[in-house]
């Protein structure tokens, strides 16, 4: 069951990504090594990761130079074009995650959460997250739904027994739904391989988004 949990990244990668983030925020694109170390440390503390930066710092810096993302001239570190692209990628990920969490958390918390998750979430997962989020935003009541196929985004039902009944019949957020017919009393819908007749009053409480 545990194979679907992503493996934790190496501390080195986290350090690497943090250094790139620091460099991106620097307008002059070059900085003293000591300053970079200090700022990166702040980032890591912010992300509440218990990683000893000093252990990896110099090693990672060398790696980055080899990869052509940074150049080190005496005591000055400057970021290359490739490095900027890489850093921008990380930043956009950070912002997307931050935005995702802004819904439920305050700004600072969302920032911290993003600081942690940006190292772990792949681009695909992020895309899916955003898709779900946009689906949730676009969900409209089944009764007003114009297209004939969609995805259930939410059930707004207070009666928990009814909620469970619907979920156990397969009417669950995330399920694909196809409207087969509209009858006087409600809708005939198809979910995977079952057809269900749903009352108008319930259709008001099922939010559906276009795929």
């Amino acid at each position: 069951m545990s194979n679907h949990v992503r493996k934790q990244k190496e501390p080195k990668t986290i350090v690497k990504e943090n250094i790139l983030r620091v460099m991106l925020e620097e307008p002059s694109r070059s900085k003293e090594i000591g300053k970079v170390r200090e700022l990166s440390k702040e980032f890591i503390i912010l992300g509440s990761w218990q990683i000893d930066l000093d252990v990896y710092f110099m090693e990672v810096l060398d790696d980055l130079q080899v990869a052509g993302l940074l150049t080190i001239n005496q005591n000055q570190v400057s970021i290359t074009k490739d490095g900027l692209i890489e850093a921008a990628n990380i930043l956009s990920k950070h912002q997307a995650i931050e935005k995702f969490f802004m819904k439920d958390l305050d700004k600072n918390e969302a920032h911290i959460a993003a600081g942690i998750l940006e190292h772990f979430i792949s681009k695909e997962v992020l895309e899916n997250m955003n898709r779900i989020r946009s689906l949730e935003e676009n969900g409209i009541e089944l009764i007003n739904f114009t297209s004939d196929e969609g995805i259930i985004t939410a059930l707004i039902i207070d009666d928990t027994q009814l909620f469970e009944r619907m979920v156990s019949m397969g009417i669950c957020p995330g399920e694909r739904i196809k409207i087969i017919a509209k009858v006087a009393a409600g809708f005939i819908v198809k979910l995977k391989h079952t057809q269900i007749a749903i009352d108008n009053s319930l259709c008001n409480k099922i939010l559906v988004a276009m795929i």
């Binding site: 909620f163 619907m166 156990s168 269900i196």
Partner: protein, 689 residues
Amino acid sequence: MTKRNILESDQQWQKDQNIDHVEKIKKKIKFDFKIDRAPKKDKIKITFIGQPNVGKSSLLNALVGTKIEVSNYPGTSVEITQAEKIMKVFSKDKREISKIKYIFIDTPGIYSISDRSPEETITKRAIFSSKENDIIILIADVNALERSLYFALQILESGKNLILGLNFVEDAYKKGISVNITKLSQILGVPAVRFNPITKNIKDLLITATKRSNNISAENFNVKYDDHIERLIKYASEIIKSDLPPRFIGVRLLEEDPDFLELISNEQLQKLKEEKKEIASEHPNIKEEISKTRFGTAAYIAEKSTHIVKIEKEFKKKQPIMDRVLFHRFWGPIFTLFFFLGLFFVLLIVGGEIEELLVLLGDFVIELIPEDEWAIGDFSFLNLLREGLAGGFAGIAIALPYVLLFYLILGFTEDIGLLPRFVVNIEKIFSFFGLPSKSFITMILGVGCTVPAITSTRIIPQKSDRLKTACLFAFIPCSSRIGIIMGVVGFYGGFIIALATFGTIFIAMMIWAFIMKRIMKAKPDPMLIELPAYRRPIINNVFSKSWLRMKSFIYVVIPLLIGGGIIYSILDQLGITALIIEPFRPFMEIVFNLPGETIVPLVFGFVQKDLTGAMLLSVFEIEDGLLPLTNIQLYTFGLASCIGVPCIIALGTMFKEYGLKNSLITLFSMILYGTFISNIAWRVAILFI
């Protein structure tokens, strides 16, 4: 998860257990087991559970023969069916080692264990009363595996000895869904076995169950909820001590299962609420989150263990023509209406013809009894026999043509899968009268006989809805009442008068339903019906189901009809029936505009509805020929005898289902309402004719 569990559903498992093979003897349902070691027990209890319409009853049918009801309408079986079968166990050298008595229990189909309808309570009781070694087989429809898995995960939490029976595997394969059974049982930690009740491929399931009764699974799969919720479950699980797994108790308490909540004290409940409050900011609705997680897990397992090739195709598939008609906004209701009108007329015409033949036969038999022997004065014992036989024949004359024909047609409709679609079409009309759509099914049953119809109201979840529906049976003409209207009103007054009587009863019913809607404000449950795919009806199933429904009529109603005939004969010969005529004469004349004599069939009709016509003739002392009643009087008589709790047997059934108070209220309010309607009706009718 132990290794043994993983292998159990496989051939490896059979090797491990030294099962040679299972052999059929004589009939297709008899299996003999050939194993080295005799099972430890000589009695194995197997309970079948599952969502509606997944094939529980067909499996039981395949196991023990055609004694069990099977239906294609979600939720028609409301009671637990039990069947027993003794099978022999052989060793490899064909030496019989033991006999095992299998007790199979079929439960009403439910979607999960936390709902509130009576079916769910019944099934829940069946599940939790099962002992450690008893087997529970959860039947899953492979076409919608995640839904059955949702239920399975709940049962697994309860730590019961579960086997997953997979039905419709071939069906699903044709649709492009293939199941990896080994993987499924690997993930769940319980055996999963495919079966097919139609081709009688059920032996693997039976073998697994037999073996499983000896070894109880070590570890079941558990759904992993959110960390906060898990912590709460752990807290809640320590509240009650019982033989159920603590984790299960914890989950049930958090899901607010009333059966479990009532076991804890107010103080404990308060504490639990406080604990919940602590995580309320992150988990405002724990119950909902638990179901969502469980469904998510079910969907995950289903996805992991099935391979779906053509889901797109399935979604793009055209609807059957039948559905395009039935789900049409205009043609759907029209079709439904015409179907039932057609059914009604078929019953009247075909049933009427057969009834006439049977009546002739009955008359012929009764004629054979010599007259005036064994008589003491005016009292003739042979008369008792004659009346008793007349009652019995009246019962058969109704049972065979009307009731059986009706239940056969109903059975076919149900098996094909049309019935729930009809329900969808009438839902709007029913909700207008404040009735749940499920009551339609029971009302149709009422056209056959009120007694099974009253029992079937159990399929309606809310009690107030059930009572509302039961009251309406006072208006739905059962076959006996159709007999009165057609045989007396129609025969003597003509078809139009009979039709007018039906029409008036129908209008009276609608008025009553509307009044009830106003009085009882409880809203019926919103429509949420699963529409099964069309299936070719299995003739055997249809007949066995019709027989099951007829059974109460034949075993209860017909003997009572015979008894009623005898009692009537005694009262009649002693002159007691005539005694009530005079006191009621003014009442009958003023209220009903009917001759005083008609009180006899009206009152005794309550005991013996089927003899109403004969009583009417005998009270006027005419054998055949014209009744001294005008058409309006016939119409009034039809109404007065048909509106109300139909007979003493129906009243008894009501008493059993709804208690003394409710049934007496229904009885008297219906007598009053029937009197009122009949009174108004003849006054209005006089104006027109």
